[in-house]
């Protein structure tokens, strides 16, 4: 299904599917994790069949997310190396958030903020996976000293919260920058979108 032959392909079908499996896992993990994190959110366990099912399912979903995240990570990591221009972008990000993007440096496929988010998510996934294994009582916790289990529980909570905040920013940025979500839904963006937000990438793919 081609919407406009002039649109630019930003993501392949396989990249989109990879992203959405990871994203769905994240939503399930955030809801089930928050349910077990704060009493006010414990009713969210009902979405998973009750408290016991929430406890059983959460870590398995985590493993699935980690697998798909690793694939996505290696797909996109070469495009996410920070450059001097990216740091310049990050320094000026406040101007853009305030509604003025005229002075923003020209960006490639990803801007400095997207790249920082990418690396933060990489670190968070490693910490969450490792600490998640440590606090996975059914199979692994008994193999670790209690002090390590406690640190695991703390790190898991802290990084999960940071990651939820990071993903809220990620999703909001996609909503705020109009014309972005379609890139992850059907893979294309308009030329104007590309030229405005990722001009270096636009030049690269169009040769203009």
């Amino acid at each position: 299904m081609i919407r406009d032959p002039n649109d630019l392909q930003r993501y392949t079908a396989s990249e989109r599917a990879n992203h959405w499996v990871t994203g769905i896992c994240f939503i399930l993990l955030a809801l089930s994790g928050l349910a077990l994190f704060h009493p006010a959110l414990f009713p969210l366990t009902m979405l998973f069949g009750g408290g016991v099912w929430t406890r059983i399912l959460h870590p398995f979903v985590g493993v699935v997310m980690m697998l798909f995240f690793v694939v996505m990570f290696f797909r996109f990591q070469s495009l996410n190396r920070m450059t001097g221009t990216d740091w310049e972008w990050v320094k000026r990000a406040r101007e853009m958030v305030n509604g003025d993007d005229h002075n923003m440096p020209i960006m490639g496929k990803y801007n400095g903020g997207q790249k920082l988010l990418f690396w933060f998510l990489g670190v968070a996934m490693v910490v969450l996976f490792a600490s998640g294994i440590v606090i996975w009582r059914a199979y692994f916790s008994a193999s670790f000293p209690i002090g390590v289990v406690r640190i695991g529980a703390l790190l898991h909570a802290v990084f999960a919260a940071l990651m939820i905040i990071a993903i809220i920013v990620h999703v909001y940025a996609a909503i705020w920058v109009r014309g972005t979500i379609r890139a992850m839904l059907y893979g294309t963006v308009t030329r104007a979108w590309a030229k405005q937000h990722h001009r270096a990438w636009y030049r690269q793919v169009t040769g203009k």
């Binding site: 002039n6 928050l34 077990l36 994190f37 704060h38 009493p39 006010a40 414990f42 366990t45 408290g51 016991v52 929430t54 406890r55 853009m96 958030v97 305030n98 509604g99 993007d101 606090i135 009582r137 059914a138 916790s141 209690i146 002090g147 289990v149 406690r150 640190i151 529980a153 703390l154 909570a157 802290v158 999960a160 919260a161 940071l162 939820i164 905040i165 809220i168 920013v169 909001y172 909503i175 705020w176 920058v177 109009r178 014309g179 308009t190 030329r191 104007a192 979108w193 030229k195 405005q196 937000h197 169009t206 203009k208």
Partner: protein, 297 residues
């Protein structure tokens, strides 16, 4: 189980006040280690009253049997052979839940009502609400809760809350042949301990004392130790037990901060959109692109 439903002092994963109208007597069990002969009658009585039957284990060359607490063994005798200035001493301690005034298990528990502290001081696990996450194990400073391999629920000594509720002493107290275990109001048990400590001191145990650790707000199972200056001699009884700082950071600091942070991010996004508006592609750029495409044709 959920007896004494009106007499609850604290309930796990619950942010509102428990029913507090009724006041009950604060109880305690006093275990006088200096009177213990290691007969294990308390272990047997615990199994019998609570209908528990642990797997038959193997002998590991000590009297410790079973070797550790399990979901079926809520109390075990621990035998330590220790050289002190009095020569070789056999220090026998009945291990089990200490029923802390400030229970780390309850602080860590994410399941509402899975852990209850009664106003009489007893800390009880309500398995019907337990989700089997094992956070209570991380919260406990005494390494007490055990998760069943069969049902993934956490179990531990109930201080016979069912017996105490109807005015009986715990099963282990009832059966102890040397009077090593006593049960009553916490104040009475403290008085009894004081008398016993004085006796022990007269008999040359100059460091005898009561183990009622302040780090967890005191406990509702207390020990009279003939070497109260070195609790760790008694098979690793912690000298200064407290809820681990990592658990406090996790439950008292990270929890509210994280919730505030997440709420701020979500609301921040909404209000940013409402106040600053969306980031649309500018008409200028759209026109430029149109021109470029025209030129191509």
């Amino acid at each position: 189980m959920a007896l004494q439903s009106l007499d609850i002092a604290k309930r796990s994963a619950t942010t509102t006040e428990p029913p507090q109208a009724r006041k009950t007597l604060e109880v305690a069990k006093l275990i006088d280690v200096s009177k213990c002969i290691g007969c294990k009658a308390c272990q047997v009585a615990c199994m019998q009253w609570n209908d528990l039957r642990d797997e038959v284990g193997t002998c590991a060359g000590t009297y410790d049997n079973p070797r550790d607490m399990t979901d079926q063994s809520w109390t075990v005798m621990r035998y330590a052979e220790v050289e002190t200035d009095r020569g070789l001493e056999w220090l026998i301690r009945k291990d089990g839940c200490m029923h802390c005034e400030d229970p780390g298990c309850l602080k860590a528990c994410p399941a509402p009502g899975a852990i209850i502290k009664y106003t009489n001081g007893i800390v009880d696990f309500h398995q019907e609400n337990c989700i089997g996450c094992g956070y209570c194990i991380a919260g406990c400073p005494f390494n007490v809760p055990r998760i069943s391999k069969k049902d993934s629920k956490a179990y531990k000594c109930t201080l016979c809350s069912d017996r105490v509720a109807v005015g009986l002493e715990p099963a282990c107290v009832k059966v102890c042949p040397t009077g090593c275990i006593s049960f009553g109001s916490k104040a009475d048990m403290q008085d009894l301990a004081e008398e016993r400590v004085t006796e022990l001191k007269e008999r040359g145990f100059t460091n005898a004392g009561l183990y009622d650790p302040a780090g967890v707000g005191g406990t509702h199972v207390m020990y009279v130790l003939n070497h109260a200056d070195q609790p760790t001699l008694y098979s690793g009884l912690p000298a200064n037990p407290t809820i681990a700082p990592t658990v406090t950071l996790w439950k008292s600091i990270a929890k509210p901060l994280a919730m505030a942070g997440i709420a701020a991010a979500a609301l921040g996004g909404l209000f940013h959109y409402v106040m600053k508006g969306p980031n649309e592609v500018s008409k200028e750029v759209e026109a430029e692109v149109e021109k470029e495409l025209e030129a191509e044709k």
